[in-house]
Amino acid sequence: MYCRRAVFIVACVRLRLNGEETELPDGCTIAEMVAQLDLSRRRIAVEVNRDIVPRTSFAEHVLCDGDIVEVVHFIGGG
């Protein structure tokens, strides 16, 4: 998987999660992020840099510095 890494070793990745600057542990996968947000059992969808990541890939998809991540769910609407 292509990943833009900083030249120095970082203990965390800085990314943009739903519009907010967020730090996650280095090597964090989508599955781990979703678990940390307590969303594992929810109907959600995740997009990284505009590409939808299928739920089946959450466990192996490692988040990278500078990623733009969107996590969406369903709310009331007409």
Partner: protein
Amino acid sequence: MPEDTFEIGGARYRSRLIVGTGKYRDFAETRAAIDASGAEIVTVAVRRVNITKADEENLLDYLDLDRITILPNTAGCYSAEEAIRTARLAREAGVGSLLKLEVIGDEKTLFPDATATIEAAQVLVEDGFTVLPYINDDPIAARKLADLGCAAVMPLAAPIGSGLGIRNPYNLKIILEQATVPIIVDAGVGTASDVARAMELGCEAVLLNTAIAGAKDPIAMAEAMKLGVEAGRKAFLAGRIGRKLYATASSPIEGLLD
């Protein structure tokens, strides 16, 4: 007599009332209104999870998904691209491929952008979605959407949330006359007589949100809407009398006293 049902995307539904889930006080009220309405299809919107409150309750926790079909919308999208992106996210979230396609053209009227709606519908139909587009009461746009493979076409009665009722029954009649897919009136109805009217015209179903959620007593209005749809549908099937300018006596002339 066979049961009166209608079909969308290969599934059959008994209830001809489709309800939205926006603008309710809380999820309990949303659920109670859906129950009272008898709706089997409910619309939802796709939005970012609030990551600071990600563990809070979700609308879907309150819906019986064995009984209710979720119809995600692309509300708030102002381009075909945004609508397509939202649709794909909705499908990935795992509620199936049914989609209420909405591409808005103007903030004040919330009228649909017909060209962008048609463009998005083309892509989404090819992508395997069961597309139900929200569209103006425009017979030409309705025909184009049906021809490109939409599962139903959903002309508005009046602007979203306006409660004005059916502003152009004649256009709806033309849309219905040429229809090759189910026609569902979506948006703008205010009260039970409006949905009855839509059904009397021959629409397959009615989709509404604000008329129930914004009523003083949403639960009572949900039931009224259910009855309105049923009454209108029955009247349509029964076949109404023609309109005449002058009176025709209901009581026989014979046997009148001298």
